[in-house]
Symmetry: C2
Subunit: 410 residues, 2 copies
Amino acid sequence: MKRYEDLSPSLRCIMTPGPVEVDPRVLRAMSFPILGQFDPEFTSIMNETMEMLRELFATGNQWAYPVDGTSRSGIEAVMVSLIAPGDRVLIPIFGRFGHLLHEIAERCGAEVFVIEKTWGSVFEPGEVIAAMHSFKPNVVAMVHGETSTGRVQPLAEIGRACRELDALFIVDAVATIGGVPVETDAWMLDAVIGGTQKCLSVPSGMAPITYNERAEAKLLTRKRVERGLRTSEVQPGELSFVRSNYFDLSMLQDYWSPLRLNHHTEMTSMLYALREGLRLTLEEGLEERFARHVLNEKALVAGLTAMGLELYGDPSCKLTVVTCVIIPEGVDGESVRSMLLERFGIEIASSFGPLKGLIWRIGTMGFSCRENNVLRVLGALEATLLRHGVSLPCGLAVQAALDVYEANIR
Amino acid sequence: MKRYEDLSPSLRCIMTPGPVEVDPRVLRAMSFPILGQFDPEFTSIMNETMEMLRELFATGNQWAYPVDGTSRSGIEAVMVSLIAPGDRVLIPIFGRFGHLLHEIAERCGAEVFVIEKTWGSVFEPGEVIAAMHSFKPNVVAMVHGETSTGRVQPLAEIGRACRELDALFIVDAVATIGGVPVETDAWMLDAVIGGTQKCLSVPSGMAPITYNERAEAKLLTRKRVERGLRTSEVQPGELSFVRSNYFDLSMLQDYWSPLRLNHHTEMTSMLYALREGLRLTLEEGLEERFARHVLNEKALVAGLTAMGLELYGDPSCKLTVVTCVIIPEGVDGESVRSMLLERFGIEIASSFGPLKGLIWRIGTMGFSCRENNVLRVLGALEATLLRHGVSLPCGLAVQAALDVYEANIR
C-alpha cells in the first residue's frame, strides 16, 4: 500500500485576490470538535452567524446566511432561485466575472441582455440605466468588485433605478465584502453574494448571501415543498419551480429559520470558521477595516510606482483590494511569479482572458492585507525583477511604502 | 456593539447517522495554514486525494474527486450532469432519501418512473429489473444505505442489468462509503456519491464522487465551455447543456485534471480534512474498518435486545451502521433524546415522515463507532428509560455488549 505523508503545507505569504491567508483564530476555530446539526448549541451558532452577517452586509434583511459551497455556489443559488426560465435579465459586464453571471443566467433559462465595457473601466450608472429602459429587464445582475481587472463599480444609482423600474438587483460582492463598503440597504440591492476567502479571510467553502423582501416575494411564488415532506400533491410553484434542490433558497431559508426544516447537513467546521472570521471583522470594526485596506493599498501602490512599474486600468475606479501591475516589456511574468513562490514563499496572481500574460494582480485582502506583507512583497518583487535583468531604481520601493505608513501614524 | 463569545462547543458523543464525531487528526488538519489553489503543493494534495478516493470507491475510474458542498451537492451534481431534460429515469424508493433522488430528477426535467417499497425493507433485485424492462429508463438512480430506515440495498444484480439494458446506474452511497463495502467496479455502478460526515468522519462540506467512462461519455455530449473562456460561439452541447454551472461535472473534471481549468476556488481546509480522513481510513484498511463496524453493531444490538427493546425493520437487510429502535409504548421519544443530550452529552437521532415519533435511530459510524461509545450509549439509555418510568431488566445491556467484545477478542 502506498504511504501518504503527514500533511505539512508550507507557510505562504498569499498576496493574490483570493484565497488569502487565514487568521490563526479562524484556523483554530475549525479544529474544535463538531456538534450535531440540530444540537441547540449549534443552532445558536447558526443564529449568531446570521446576526453578524446582517451587520457585515449593512442590512436589516431577515435573510442573511451562508450557502454551503464556494462563492460561486452563492451566486448560482441566488440566480437560479430569483431568475425564472424566460425572465429578462440584464448583465452589464466589465470583466471576467460578469461573463460568469451571463453564463449562469443562460443556464437558468433566462433571456439575457448583455452590455459590455472595455476591461479596465466600469460603467457610468447612466449607461446601465439607459440599457434598462431599452431592454426592460426583470432582473439586473452585476459584479461589484472585478478581481480580473481590479475595478469597482458604483452601485447606488443603479440600485435606485432598479427599484423605480421594478427590476430585482443582484450583486456579486464576493471580492468586496469585508474590505470595501457594501451598503445593501442604502444602495437598494435586492440580493447580495459575499465571498469568504477574500476580504473575510475565511477558507473557501461558504458563500454568505442576503436578500430582502422583494427578492423573497419572488422566491415564494416558485416554492415547492420537497417530496417526502409534502402534505398535498398540488404545488403552487409547479410551473416555474427552481431547477435546483440544493440551491433553492426557499428551502434554505426554512432550514435557517426556527422551522429548521431538514435540507442539507450544515457544514459544521466551516460555520465555526465563518463565525470566527465575522467576529474578527466586527471586532476590528467595518470602517477601521476598510481604512486598513485603503492604507495598505496606498503603500503598495507607492512602492510599485517608486520601482518604476505601471499600474493597469482606469485609476478613478480602482478596486482598493486588488492592484493590477503591467508586466514590463520583455519580462516573462510566469517566471517572476514562480521565483516569488519558490524562493520567497510569496504568491501573487496571473490573469485571465485578454489580460493573460500582460498583468500581475496583487491582492491586499483581509488578513493578508498588512504592513509586513506589503513590505515583503515589494522587497521580493524588486529582487526578482533585478534577477530577471530588469533595470530599476534599487531600494526605493520599500522606502516609499514605509513613508506611507509613517505618514499615517503622524 | 454586541459581543460574541469565544467559540467553545461542548464535547458530544454523537451516535446519530451523521454528522458523527471527527478524529482529532482530521480536526488538526483543518487548522493548518492554507495554500493557494494553484500552488503546486496544493495541486499535489488534490491529486493524492483523487488516488485515495479511487481506493475508497474500489474503482479504476479516472474520475474520483470531491464536489465542493454537502453530500446533497454531490448527488445533485451527478444527477444534473448525467440526466438531460426528457431522459427516462427510474427511481426505486425504499426510504426518505429515495424521495430526494425523485425530487432532484424531477427538477432536472426528467420523465421519472418510481417504484416504492414499504419502509423497513428493500427491493429484490428482480423487482427493479422487471421495472427496467417495463419503463425502459436511460438512467436508474437509487440509494445504497437508507439512513431513514436503516436498510441496505444489494446492488450487484441491478448493476449488471443496467449494463445489459444500457442504462446508467447512479448510486447514492452517502451513508455507506467507508463503513460498508461499496464495490463500484465489481457491481458495475456508473456513478457513485459518497458522504464525508458519516462513516468517513470528516465534517460535512465535501461530497466525494466517482464515475466511469460510460458516464463521462454522456457528460461530454452535454459539454459547454464557460463564457469568457470560449474560443468559438458554436457549442456542441448547446441543446442539452447542463442547467448548472457549479455542478457541471464536465467543467469540474477539467479543474481536477492537469488542465486545471479555472472554475471555483477549491475548499482548502475541507480538502485537508478529507485527505486526512481518507488517510486514516486506508491506514486502518477497508476490510478491517468494515469488520469494526460489524462488531460494534453486534454489541449495540446485543445490548438493546438485552434491555428488552425491539428493533425496527426487516433484519435480513439491516444496514450495519444505523440501528433503528422502536420507541416503547407510552414513552416520549423526544424527551428521552433531550435527556440523553442534556444530561449525558449523547446525541441519538429521531426520524422522518411515517416513522416520526415511532423509532430512534442510533448510528455506529466511523470515528463514533467504537466500544466506549457503544457502552456509553447503552448505559445512558438504560438510565434514561428508567428515569422515564420504563420497567426493564437493569444492568443487562452493557454486560451483553461486553460479552460481544470479549468473545471477539478470544
